[in-house]
């Protein structure tokens, strides 16, 4: 099921687009230092990858700390969109590392007023679990076990790879005119820092 969400390709994203995006984002970050620079609202406590039966799995413990806006939105029935971005990059010495594969694991967290329970949905699989309190839901969300990343057969023997993990919490219930709002009020999107480590083979 999770593999269905994987977008794996040898060519990866177009280099020009990635480069330009990087420059644009860098410029944006210079202009808007608040973007993704809050004091670690999402902390990746522990992360590791291991090979099992020819498949690389990811284990991670992520500590989600919701800001006031997110808590308020959740309390008012809005669904938080939690996105785990897992990137596999080839390591280069002189040039930037080209993206080799990217995997997106998406979750939805919302408060169900009638039942007074927090519902955590795996948007990739459709599974959902309810919790009587927010903290157990966040803990369950932050505990990632045996998440398949990539088939080892797809990796080149001669290359070395790095794995990157980042979590993003987004209040995506902001379509229409509200979309513009997100341009100017950045606490509606909480982006964690990248955690990177080599894929030990």
């Amino acid at each position: 099921m999770l593999q269905a969400a994987q977008r794996i390709g040898k060519k990866g994203i177009g280099k020009k687009g990635w480069r330009f995006s990087a420059v644009a984002l860098l410029a944006l970050q210079m202009m808007l230092p608040a973007v993704a620079r809050a004091d670690a609202p999402i902390e990746i406590v522990d992360v590791s990858t291991h090979l099992e039966d020819g498949v690389w799995y990811l284990d991670a413990d992520i500590d989600y700390r919701l800001n006031e806006t997110a808590l308020e939105a959740l309390d008012n029935g809005l669904e938080l969109d939690i996105e785990l971005v897992i990137q596999l990059t080839e390591r280069r010495r002189l040039l930037w590392d080209p993206e080799f594969a990217e995997l997106l694991q998406r979750y939805g967290l919302r408060y169900h007023a009638l039942t007074e329970r927090y519902i955590l949905r795996n948007l990739n699989s459709g599974e959902q679990v309810s919790y009587g309190a927010l903290q157990p839901a966040l803990e369950a969300l932050g505990t990632v076990r045996r998440l398949p990343v990539i088939d080892d057969a797809l990796l080149s023997e001669e290359e070395r790879y790095d794995v990157g993990l980042r979590a993003i919490i987004d209040i995506k219930k902001l379509g229409g005119a509200l979309a513009l709002f997100r341009l100017f009020w950045n606490d509606w999107r909480i982006a964690g820092d990248w955690a990177r480590w080599p894929l030990d083979r």
Partner: protein
């Protein structure tokens, strides 16, 4: 000049780019607002586009504004109009936009507030509470039945559980009953779901609550609807028995679930809306503000653009006018269009064409006038007749060279000056002016008169004619006086008359003289010896007197004959110094009473002349001087020569000076006329002959009294044929030359 349109077009292109970016951003935004995920990916681009577009547009506006301010300060043509138009455009744009913006903001904030009603909110809260109460009643029932099942299972072995559990599930109406032991070990399961569906073990939350000794019941929303999850501890027979937990899953009827969902959705939507009210309002206002700013920017830039578009032809017109003012009539302005401004520019071009034609005509007229003036000037310059035009106040308007030469003053250089001022040092001009004034004072503006001027160089006889220049007020605007020096003409006429007299005298008198003399001598020879002594003496005295007087008359007639005679000139190169020395030596030999001093030109002095005539001239001059010195104490005679080439004329001057009594003023005017003499012994033809011979050479002779006493007679002779020719033709340079040496 080419940089300005380039910059203008560059600014316009930038403005269009900025607007395009802003529109692109808005379109981009509009296309992504319905797709949340896509918006998340692209909002950086949208922001960048917005930022870039706004920055470019703002930059263009600032550049335009700075340029306008600069032009305004420089008072560039059209800048004031452009400023006014920009201000009007901006005001016209800001006012309606501001009004629309204000009412839109009010409408949005109040409109959104009306969405939320206290009653609706309370009703939803009540509906939610009612739904909860209904479901909680059902949950309590399920918890009770679960508790009953648990009580029934109390004390039973694990292996007996499965069969018993199935029966209990059916009786209790549960969807699934599960008994778990320590570490969530499933002991028994009874489920109406398919066998492929794995049983759901109690969650940590459930187990935690059970361990705390409290039964667990919850309503779990699932994909298909709702289920009620209950969990209780199965009472053990012994406190140390393993904790066993019975979990029951009860399906909520579909209709109840749908109703509950409906209430939940309505409530959730309302809460969402309530929560998003402020961001929504802010977003709308932000959008509105962006649109307002965009519209304002467009309006301001448009104001600049159209103001420039409208003032450009005016600036072109001003530039054209300035060019025309500077005399550039080739300027043709480009037609801005077919509107009124185009008509104006067309008229301007037409006017410039006509002006250029008029100017060309004026230039041609001026050229013609100038040509005529130059022609007249040449004619006046070549005229030997003097022409002077005077203004009403006697300032000199024009004068030709001949006028100056005749009057002995540079009248051409004195144009614009009062005639009286110019005449201060010139007696001839003073007399000339006095005659003119006397006529004008009497109101006689048109007159003709022969006037005699007396100066250092002798008398001058001028024939003058004056005409008034017509003025606007009837009074004369000035005068033109035309005059000719007829001194030479009169002299020539006199000379001719005297020549004729001399010829007749020589012819009529000389013929009877010889018979008279012969007759007297014959009478003397025949009758002298026959007469008495007394009578003989008388006869002898009478006949001697007759013979002497006849001889004297012969001399006189010969002198007349010489005066009238005009043999051909024998022109040779004559060494003047040697000739003067030779002639002077003759007089030294004769031991005349005067001491002759020679001052000959150093370096030689030669001229093309008739040596015989020159010798005669010198004899006459010396003889004239010697005669004038008779009876004078310490008589001295000085002869000097001098060569010059002034005014491109080579000439020789011979000056004879004595320290005699001089010549009276009355005699001075006619000293060169025949029979004018102040000496008792002179025939009166010496100087007349000198003048005649000198003028035959083309030269002139002048006589004057020396300041220290005595007479100075100066002869000027042309040294070569060219000078002789110029002097004979009375060329301008010869007049100037003579004036310089007067």
């Amino acid at each position: 000049m080419a940089a300005r349109p380039l910059r203008r077009w560059g600014l316009a292109a930038l403005a269009v780019l900025g607007l395009s970016l802003l529109f692109a951003a808005l379109l981009f935004l509009a296309s992504t607002v319905d797709d949340v995920d896509r918006f998340g990916e692209t909002y950086n681009w949208i922001f960048l586009l917005n930022l870039a577009g706004a920055a470019i547009l703002l930059g263009v506006i600032i550049a335009n504004l700075l340029r306008l301010v600069r032009e305004y300060r420089k008072q560039a043509p059209g800048s004031r109009l452009a400023s006014r138009m920009v201000a009007i455009f901006v005001v016209l744009a800001v006012l309606p936009l501001g009004v629309v913006y204000y009412f839109s903001v009010q409408f949005i904030s109040r409109g959104i507030d009306t969405w939320f009603d206290v009653n609706v909110e309370a009703g939803l809260e009540d509906a939610l509470a009612l739904s909860r109460a209904t479901l909680e009643s059902r949950m309590r029932e399920h918890l009770d039945s679960t508790q009953q099942v648990a009580d029934t299972l109390s004390g039973r072995e694990d292996r007996d559980m499965a069969g018993r559990l199935e029966m209990m599930r059916r009786s209790s109406g549960a969807m699934e009953l599960t008994v778990v032991g320590k570490s969530s070990r499933i002991i028994a399961v009874s489920s109406e779901r398919s066998v492929t569906d794995l049983p759901e073990p109690p969650t940590e939350e459930v187990m935690l609550q059970i361990r705390q000794g409290r039964p667990f019941v919850s309503l779990d929303p699932v994909r298909e609807g709702y289920i009620v999850r209950t969990a209780v501890a199965i009472p053990g027979l012994h406190p140390l028995d393993e904790l066993r937990v019975l979990q029951g899953l009860f399906a909520v009827p579909e209709r109840v679930g749908l109703l509950a969902d409906s209430v939940q959705e309505a409530y959730a939507q309302y809460r969402e809306l309530a929560f998003l009210r402020q961001p929504f309002t802010r977003s709308l206002m932000l959008t509105l503000t962006l649109v307002l700013l965009l519209s304002l920017s467009m309006a301001i830039w448009g104001a600049f653009f159209f103001a420039r578009k409208l003032t450009a032809p005016i600036q072109t017109l001003v530039a054209g006018t300035r060019a025309v003012a500077k005399g550039d009539f080739d300027t043709r302005l480009p037609l801005p269009g077919r509107d009124e401004m185009g008509f104006l520019v067309h008229s301007f071009n037409d006017m410039i064409t006509r002006l250029a034609e008029a100017r060309e005509l004026a230039r041609q007229s001026e050229q013609a006038v100038e040509s005529q003036r130059a022609y007249l000037e040449v004619i006046l310059g070549r005229l030997s007749t003097g022409v002077v035009s005077l203004q009403r106040d006697w300032h000199i308007s024009t004068a030709n060279e001949a006028a100056g030469a005749i009057l002995g003053v540079d009248l051409e250089g004195a144009v614009g000056r009062p005639l009286a001022e110019v005449a201060e040092d010139n007696p001839l001009l003073q007399q000339f002016m006095a005659v003119g004034r006397s006529h004008v004072d009497e109101g006689d503006y048109e007159w003709r008169e022969q006037i005699v001027l007396r100066g250092v160089g002798g008398r001058r006889v001028l024939m003058c004619a004056c005409s008034a220049l017509p003025g606007e007020d009837g009074a004369p605007d000035g005068f033109v006086i035309v005059f000719d020096d007829i001194t030479a003409l009169l002299q020539a006429q006199r000379d001719a008359a005297w020549g004729e007299v001399a010829r007749r005298l020589a012819h009529e008198i000389k013929n009877p003289l010889t018979p008279i003399q012969l007759s007297a001598e014959r009478i003397r020879r025949r009758f002298l010896k026959q007469m008495e002594d007394e009578d003989a003496k008388v006869l002898e005295r009478a006949t001697r007197t007759i013979v002497q007087q006849v001889e004297s008359m012969k001399d006189m007639v010969n002198a007349f004959s010489d005066y009238a005679r005009a043999p051909d000139m024998d022109m040779t190169r004559v060494n003047i110094n040697r000739l003067v020395a030779e002639v002077a030596e003759l007089y030294r030999v004769r031991e005349i009473p005067a001491a002759i001093e020679l001052r000959l030109a150093p370096g030689g002095c030669a001229a093309e002349a008739d040596a015989g005539r020159l010798r005669q001239i010198l004899h006459n001059l010396i003889r004239n001087a010697v005669e004038a010195l008779e009876g004078q104490e310490q008589p001295r005679l000085r002869i000097s020569t001098r060569a010059t080439d002034e005014f491109e004329l080579r000439a020789v001057f011979i000056t004879v000076e004595d320290n005699g009594p001089g010549i009276s003023a009355e005699a001075m005017d006619r000293i060169f006329d025949p029979y004018v003499t102040s000496k008792p012994k002179g025939t009166g033809l010496g100087l007349a002959i000198v003048k005649k011979l000198v003028e035959e050479h083309g030269g002139w002779v002048e006589a004057g009294n020396r300041e220290e006493g005595g007479v100075r007679i100066t002869i000027a002779l042309p040294a070569d044929e060219e000078a002789r020719s110029a002097m004979l033709r009375r060329e301008i340079r010869s007049s100037e030359f003579r004036r310089a040496h007067a």
